[in-house]
Point group: C2
């Protein structure tokens, strides 16, 4: 597992975990049906409490990134081929704020789209 927690960050640990696991799935480091480490294993690896891992896993489950089975543990769900509306609505709201701040900070539309394009390519090239 390539999880790096920044304990100085203002982003809560369980959210850093969630984000890095999502990035791992998008990068293909975690394939569909792959098992994630058990909550105890990962907690011990990172040196944090198992409930913090559990909170991240349950959040990922509620967002449909992983499934949790009492026997097998947490497993990665297949990527979607059709986006669901609720996600797109959330995405648009987040992007609205992000783009507003970018406009204030002098980032042109082209600059912004170029940044996004490069990030997208970073994910794709490793799959």
């Amino acid at each position: 597992m390539f999880i790096k927690i920044d304990f100085q960050s203002e982003t809560p640990i369980y959210l850093q975990l969630r984000n890095q696991i999502i990035e791992g799935i998008a990068k293909g480091h975690f394939k569909p049906n792959d098992s994630l480490p058990s909550v105890r294993q990962l907690a011990s690896d990172i040196g944090i409490n198992l409930h913090t891992i559990n909170k991240a896993y349950n959040l990922l489950k509620s967002e449909n990134y992983i499934a949790i089975d009492r026997r097998k543990g947490a497993t990665v769900l297949p990527l979607m081929d059709e986006p669901d509306m609720a996600f797109v609505d959330d995405l648009k709201k987040t992007l609205n704020t992000l783009i507003a701040s970018s406009i204030c900070k002098g980032i042109s539309k082209d600059d912004f789209l170029t940044i996004c394009s490069k990030i997208y390519d970073n994910f794709r090239e490793e799959m």
Copy 2:
């Protein structure tokens, strides 16, 4: 003032305020040197505590969106024409997570760029 607070939202009030003010600046509803309502006035309008407004204003000040003067109150700063590095770094990190989740949810690069492009145009057409 066109501030709408969702008291059911999990996003803290002071952050909803911050975001909507940034969106107001980006849309040109607030022009450079415009005064924002006083903390007491806005608190009374929305029906929340003045310290919550103060927290939002001071956050906006620390992020260089507004200036706060003891006499004139809070005023909108001019938009930047050159982005600063710290902001771009933050933006890239946020976009990295957002794009990772979008990939998992089946949103293609073209879909994503089109959404961003439209949001950018929404801001521009009102200026």
